[in-house]
């Protein structure tokens, strides 16, 4: 998985959220109005029609009732929305608390914590299984999986089955005959399950931490670190020295890395912004991890040679760091002291500078990388070079990693409780699983990607769903324009009209699909542990913030859906 390394832009996220939620709300509102109107007006009109043709009595006060029916849609739906908002606004903390405690009690009495037993057993076997290994990455990943998988199952069972069971046992009936609001029931459930989940995860995480530390051999403990990187953005210069967005493709099917060619003017340039020099500890530590691609054998005894040049973006001052042989299968760490002496190629003499003044201007700096072996290639992606600041405490990064896992579980609870407000346990479970998984499944990803990247109004080869269907049935090649060659009516202007209408409808369908895909959660945001397992800190702005935002984004829509489902459901009649 490619990690997020650029800070998450909260404003963009909020705008996106507002667009999606706003559009959906609008769509639902209109649909509700239409449905209410139909249910009121159609029977009335039907009776009137019957009266006209069969001589049955004409509906009394027809005009009055028609007006009333037409008004009922907008009026009732607006009233419903208002009442819903009011129901949330008037929630009583006391009742929510009571319902939360009840949910916690219920979970405990239904043996939710047996998940701890499963965890303990798995940990015991793992102890034997992994004994003696020194790959810390494996331990960390293992602990996260062994906690998150059983917890996922537990959370699904709790959240999807709790409310339906409450309804089936009719114990909820007694609760709703008290002054309990439906919103309080939903929120109480959510908080209760969240509390149980948080407690269980916290407990297991502590055990997991102790296990990781004890399992790691003494000499491998140094691998339990949380590096705190500062990332830049990467661009390239091609072999003629021209700006290039991408590096050379050396034939990898995975074009994650771009390559620069040795001995030419080809460069990789990282641009850093807003460097806080106070965090640097009076030195510049550059860590990189490049992929070497040898086009010829070269000097087989030595690894490839590269050089960093620090560039002050304001003054254009260039500071060459001594050449280094890269480690072809691991990190290169280069430490440059703040007071640094280097050979200045322009003045052809040694110069001593204060790096923080000479290379960094207003927190901005560039690092240029070149490969010094003629005809060899060096591959890099944006995340492959970064500045290092002092390490964060490992335990703290570990806690933040689990915050990601916890946020994922909380989101599943939110989905589960919402689903359980309108269906029974099994259906709710399946619905939740599908909703969580669809975007993660390979075969769908490509389709979703295409839908998301489709710009509004942009031509699609072969057209949208309806046009494509027409083309299939009329054996029309995707390349030929449809209106020229399709003649269902024989009249050109009518054909053109049909074509226009089809295009419009397709446009709407694609917009609908885009909206639908946007609604599906991207759970990769919660894989915080990969950062930790790779020895990095789990940073707030690149890793944790997107996860927090993702979970928060669903709270309001889910609460509303849950509330309206529960409210419009006749609890008694099943």
């Amino acid at each position: 998985m490619i990690p997020n390394i650029q800070p998450y832009d909260l404003m963009t996220g909020i705008k996106h959220w507002a667009t999606v939620v706003g559009t959906l709300t609008g769509v639902f509102f209109v649909l509700a109005v239409i449905l209410v109107t139909i249910s009121r007006v159609v029977p009335l009109l039907w009776n009137a029609l019957l009266a006209l043709f069969t001589g049955r009595p004409f509906p009394e006060k027809f005009g009055e009732r028609l007006v009333e029916g037409l008004l009922a849609g907008p009026v009732n739906v607006t009233k419903g929305v208002w009442n819903g908002l009011l129901d949330f606004a008037l929630m009583s903390p006391r009742r929510v608390w009571a319902l939360t405690v009840l949910t916690i009690r219920e979970s405990l009495r239904r043996k939710a914590f047996s998940v701890l037993v499963i965890f303990a057993v798995l940990m015991m076997f793992a102890g034997w299984f992994f004994a003696g290994g020194d790959d810390v990455k494996v331990y960390i990943s293992f602990v996260f999986r062994v906690i998150s998988w059983p917890m996922l199952i537990l959370v699904l069972l709790l959240s999807c089955w709790g409310l339906p069971r409450d309804i089936k046992d009719r114990s909820l009936h007694t609760v709703v005959t008290k002054p309990t609001r439906k919103s309080e029931i939903v929120v109480g459930r959510l908080l209760g399950y969240s509390a149980v989940t948080t407690a269980a995860v916290a407990l297991m995480a502590v055990v997991g931490y102790i296990w990781i530390v004890r399992q790691t051999p003494e000499d491998a403990r140094s691998q339990l670190i949380a590096r705190v990187p500062i990332y830049g953005t990467l661009t390239y210069l091609d072999r003629e020295g021209n700006f290039a967005e991408k590096g050379v493709n050396v034939g990898d099917e995975w074009d994650y890395r771009g390559f620069i060619e040795g001995g030419t003017r080809s460069r990789a340039i990282w641009e850093f912004k807003n460097i806080d020099t106070r965090r640097l500890n009076d030195q510049l530590v550059i860590e990189s991890n490049f992929e070497a691609k040898r086009m010829h054998k070269g000097d087989i005894g030595k690894t490839l040679l590269m050089q960093y040049t620090l560039i002050n973006p304001k003054s254009g001052d260039r500071i060459d760091v001594p050449q280094t042989h890269i480690s072809e299968f691991g990190e290169n760490i280069t430490t440059v002291p703040r007071q640094f002496t280097f050979y200045d190629r322009d003045t052809k003499q040694n110069r001593t500078v204060d790096l923080f003044d000479a290379a960094i201007a207003d927190g901005n700096m560039k690092i240029e990388v070149r490969c010094l072996n003629v005809g060899q290639f060096l591959g890099m992606a944006e995340a492959d070079l970064f500045l290092r600041t002092p390490n964060a405490p490992f335990w703290f990064a570990y806690v933040k990693g689990f915050a990601g896992t916890l946020l994922m579980l909380l989101l599943v609870i939110l989905f589960g409780v919402t689903a359980s407000c309108f269906t029974k346990g099994p259906v709710a479970t399946i619905a939740t699983c599908v909703f969580v998984l669809v975007r993660q499944l390979r075969p769908f990803q490509e389709i979703f990607e295409r839908i998301l990247n489709q710009k509004p109004g942009e031509e699609i080869l072969g057209g949208g769903p309806i046009e494509a269907t027409i083309r299939v049935y009329t054996h029309l090649n995707p390349q030929v324009p449809m209106h020229d060659h399709l003649s269902p009516t024989g009249s050109e202007s009518v054909d053109f009209l049909i074509f226009k209408v089809v295009k419009q409808i397709d446009g709407v369908i694609i917009e609908g699909l885009r909206l639908a895909v946007n609604v599906l959660p991207d759970f990769t945001q919660f894989y915080t542990e990969t950062r930790l397992a790779n020895g990095f800190d789990v940073s707030w702005d690149t890793t944790l913030l997107p996860a927090v935002t993702l979970t928060l984004a669903y709270i309001i829509p889910c609460l509303l859906i849950a509330y309206y489902s529960l409210k419009n459901r006749e609890l008694e009649a099943k």
Partner: protein
């Protein structure tokens, strides 16, 4: 007339299945009012729509047609529930809670201070007589105990309107008697009670007005006293009479053109016997009654109770046909 606590107008309820197809018409154009401070009984055979009516009043079901106003608010309004207590047909409580936790939970759903809640819980546990089981989970409760905690739950908020769905079902005779006393007590406190029951004797004892439903339709409604007074019969209670005295009375009656329709020795009803036995067992534990003794003790008391015997059981007292 007193103010209406419940107004039902033209209420119909059709149960539908998942696909919206009609299953049962449980209520048909029901209209009735319950006034403040009265005890109202809903009667009717099984499946006549009593429970459905109560559930509609509580907003657990949505009416197919018609209007409901409870305490001046529509049935879907939750705020009115602050003043309502409901004892369901079967107790729908959380089986994993114990009695105290249950009452505490329901108490928390109402505006009530913690101190007040604690006090109320103790009172109610005492009132419904489950002190010995206050720490036991409800899943271990017997049916009657469950009914009792259900009742306590319904009264936790000291409601103005109490709806009881078959309050005496599952209760032992003492419980039944206590329940009846309680209902009368509630009425004395000015509360309104709506109850359904099959035990007509109980209904007759406590209800001011009744409605009889049949097949979802209202058949009879009115004040119990009025509905039950037999206009063409008179009943006398006397001390024990000899055969001679009875034949003399017969002659007197004949002169007044009336007829003596039956002469019987009054019998205590089973309820009385049961209550007495339990009371005596309490005061003299370890003692057992044989049927002779029981009969004897019943005979002695029969004399005492003769005058205040209620005409509520199915063992009739003397009945005389009065002259018109």
């Amino acid at each position: 007339m007193a103010e209406s606590v419940i107004q039902i107008r033209n209420l119909s309820k059709i149960y539908r299945d998942f696909w919206g197809r009609k299953k049962v018409r449980a209520l048909n154009s029901l209209s009735l009012d319950v006034e403040k401070g009265e005890v109202f009984g809903l009667l009717g055979p099984n499946g006549s729509g009593k429970t459905t009516t109560l559930k509609l009043l509580l907003g657990l079901l949505f009416p197919t047609e018609g209007k409901i106003t409870v305490l001046g608010k529509p049935a879907s309004n939750v705020e009115k529930n602050e003043r309502i207590g409901y004892l369901p047909e079967e107790s729908y409580l959380y089986k994993f809670l114990n009695a105290e936790e249950t009452l505490n939970f329901y108490g928390q759903l109402f505006k009530m201070s913690r101190v007040e809640r604690k006090k109320r819980i103790d009172e109610l546990i005492e009132l419904v007589g489950i002190q010995h089981a206050r720490k036991r989970q409800l899943k271990e409760y017997s049916k009657g105990m469950t009914r009792r905690i259900g009742l306590a739950q319904a009264l936790i908020n000291n409601p103005d309107l109490v709806m009881l769905d078959e309050p005496t079902s599952g209760l032992d005779p003492i419980g039944t008697r206590e329940m009846k006393d309680l209902i009368i007590q509630l009425k004395e406190q000015g509360k309104t009670v709506v109850m359904c029951s099959h035990l007509l004797a109980d209904v007759q004892d406590v209800c001011d007005r009744i409605a009889i439903l049949y097949g979802g339709e209202l058949k009879v409604m009115g004040e119990v006293d009025q509905l039950l007074t037999e206009q063409d019969e008179t009943q006398l209670h006397t001390s024990r009479l000899s055969e001679a005295a009875i034949s003399e009375i017969r002659e007197v009656l004949a002169r007044h053109n009336a007829e003596l329709s039956g002469v019987e020795q009054p019998r205590a009803n089973l309820e009385d016997l049961f209550l007495r036995t339990v009371h005596e067992s309490k005061s003299r534990p370890g003692r057992r009654f044989t049927s002779d003794e029981a009969a004897q003790s019943s005979a002695t008391t029969a004399v005492e109770t003769k005058t205040d015997d209620k005409p509520s059981d199915d063992t009739p007292d003397d009945k005389n046909s009065p002259a018109s």
